[in-house]
């Protein structure tokens, strides 16, 4: 029998407990696949005497990180502390020290990967150890390994993901029940899907972090969180979801990255997609990532993007990979930044647009607005009027593909037309 590979587990919250339980429950199978036993040697916690969902041997638990980081017989550090309050420390420092000590690192930390991924991957390379982070994006869905290894033959052209379960749950409810944003947010909070401060989810920050990680990998280029254009779902109304449905679209918060001839587009925003697009039927808290590669064509990965065991599934797969690599003395796949491509400013994004205007119900209004779109090189694909003989009525346009700069210019003029009460909503359209 091979001698065990020993893991230092940092964090025993929801994910940490999941990792502990999965390693225990599927011990034999994991040993088979890892080429030998995988054992937890030490667990770092903040409060040693806290009541926990898992029964852990007292001797395993410590509050001193050095007992993990300086232990010669610990091969892998598994960091699942996260960044409570948005602070990358102490997790960041632990990961850095672990790599420098020649330990392989498995982490589920999307904040750290998004903000400091490039630096840490470079450090891992210098230290000749592996750094794995499958669980940092989309929980149990094996999207990191798929992009890096399974799509190695492809130039990836487009990546579109539903990678925030909270907002997908909310938008699903809004679509199915016609309920407004505030009501579904309260419901999501009651169910524990949304935090008491929901900003990170509903404003798209969480999705932007994850997109940063995915786009960096897919396009082998350095992308910073600040490069991602971001718009949340707080302005989405049941009315717009219903109108969009009449045009044949579903509304989702998509994280989109595209490689164009002009540069990389990276953006998170509410998006209309055709109802028969595979992403359109991804509902509730489920996540999915849709990819187009030059060889493989269209691919989609669907599953649970969060939760104790789905996340643990990804963490433990990484531990198994790390254990195999340690036994063989290799570090795993190359995960590099080979190219440096420009990330386009939001004004340069090319998309189609759904534009909902509230206007005076009077002959000639459509002509005036259409004229203004035309003057700004915005070409209209279809338009419907909702409501009649009331003030205002809704006039809803869907455009052909157009660069955002032109749409903004057109909308500025349109909003000043005396017959236009307001531009109620502007939502990008993709995947048609």
């Amino acid at each position: 029998m091979e001698s065990p590979v020993r893991v230092g587990l940092m964090g025993l919250g929801t994910v940490g407990a999941g990792v502990y339980e999965v390693l225990e429950k599927n011990y034999e199978q994991i040993a088979r696949r890892a080429g030998g036993p995988v054992e937890i040697a030490k667990i770092l916690v903040r409060h040693p005497n806290k009541a926990r969902s898992v029964a852990v041997d007292d001797g395993l638990v410590t509050t001193d990180p050095d007992e993990l980081l300086e232990a010669e017989d610990i091969d892998i550090i598994c960091e699942v502390i996260g960044c409570p309050g948005g602070d990358v420390e102490p997790a960041m420092g632990y990961i850095r020290r672990a790599l420098e000590a020649g330990k392989y690192v498995v982490t589920a930390n999307k904040d750290i990967l998004a903000k400091h991924g490039r630096e840490l991957l470079e450090l891992a390379r210098r230290c000749k150890v592996g750094l794995y982070y499958e669980a940092a994006v989309a929980g149990g869905i094996p999207i990191i390994k798929s992009i890096k290894e399974c799509l190695a033959a492809n130039e990836i052209e487009t990546l579109m993901g539903i990678i925030n379960g909270t907002t997908n749950y909310m938008l699903t409810k809004m679509a199915q029940e016609g309920a407004p944003f505030d009501a579904v947010l309260r419901e999501a909070q009651e169910k524990g899907y949304a935090e008491s401060d929901p900003t990170s989810d509903v404003e798209g920050h969480d999705a932007a972090y994850k997109l940063t990680i995915l786009a960096r990998l897919a396009f082998e280029t350095d992308i910073r969180v600040e490069d991602v254009y971001r718009e949340g779902i707080t302005k989405v109304t049941p009315e717009d979801i219903a109108y969009a449905r009449e045009f044949g679209y579903a509304l989702k918060l998509l994280a989109i990255a595209k490689a164009t001839g002009r540069g990389i587009e990276a953006r998170v925003h509410p998006t209309l997609i055709p109802q028969d697009h595979p992403l359109a039927s991804v509902n509730d808290v489920f996540n999915a990532i849709f990819i187009e590669g030059d060889a493989v064509g269209e691919l989609m990965f669907y599953g649970r993007g969060a939760g104790k065991f789905p996340t643990a599934s990804a963490v433990v797969a990484d531990i198994v990979q790390a254990a195999q690599n340690i036994r063989r003395g290799v570090t795993g796949w190359i995960d590099g930044v080979a190219k440096q491509r420009e990330v386009l400013s939001p004004l340069e994004i090319v998309s189609r647009y759904y534009i909902h205007t509230k206007v005076v119900d009077r002959p000639g209004v459509l002509a005036q607005i259409a004229q203004t779109f035309g003057d700004n090189n915005v070409s209209i694909e279809s338009v419907i009027q909702k409501g009649k003989e009331q003030d205002p009525v809704s006039l809803v346009f869907v455009t052909h593909e157009v660069v955002e700069r032109n749409v903004r210019a057109a909308l500025e003029r349109i909003s000043m037309l005396p017959v236009v009460r307001s531009v109620a909503n502007v939502i990008r359209v993709e995947g048609a």
Copy 2:
């Protein structure tokens, strides 16, 4: 610069040409990911002077397999000859010789993997080389690597796949247009989706081969093609698709493998699944594999299951993996048969059933049939009558979960009832 890894390509048909083109088009990226250049050293063809879709240097082409198999400087044999006419030779012999010569092997050959996978994987292990076959199942969808590596932490419980594009195209057409089997088969043949002899697709043989490979991997147990229960789509009617829709189901040809306490279920048959199940909206020639693992929960992989470039995407990803492993002197993940679990006979399968009977329209008929189901421990969930005051009318039942043995016994009795004209169709129901 690292010295190149050299590939001997066997076969220059559709997939072979795709592999050649992808390796050429994405040469630099592939070199980066493989840790150095990947080059085609020799190509085995049957007809050296045939017109081809790719322009290949004459010096690369040979009709002599020994020029690949005995070449010391060829590291990887990529076998994409297939099994024309169902004959595993000569491909099988080439793979065996390549492994024995210490070469890594990448193959897209589902027939050989299904029939002789265990033997070849064992041979690869003894020869200390890698054998990779991502392209053998579901084309561009990275399902082999996902099961083996990404789900390493999971006990897989259920695997349900749409893994034959031809029949999925046909069933999609039947559902959308109400067209009968014969008409959509002709259309599929005209479009080149179905062969002139469509038996392998429409009778479920192709799906059974692929399921054998997937189930062996998912359950780490030896499964033979003959162990897979198989039923094709030739008896599916637009009428049944329409009735099923009224019950809330879509009809798909599913390949299903389940680990139950009593043993492994492995079966391919027309199946009703709830319309909101992720597999229900997989249409046209697309493939998808739905998996439930004890940690990850529900996962689905969606994409193109065949075609030149999707298949080449999978083959080249394997070549990149092989090249990396060769450079590191390792063979890749462990792919073994650890357990030997029994594969259940069809009579032991537990499922729900849609049962379409044609009966005399007379009071008391439903009671008689219901009584017969009850006598055989078949519990009915719902029933609808279609048609009225005609002879016969359709009486359509959906059962609760029941073991197949009981259903067969009940149907034998029911078909003998004087009021029953025929049992028109019996279709299993899953995923509810």
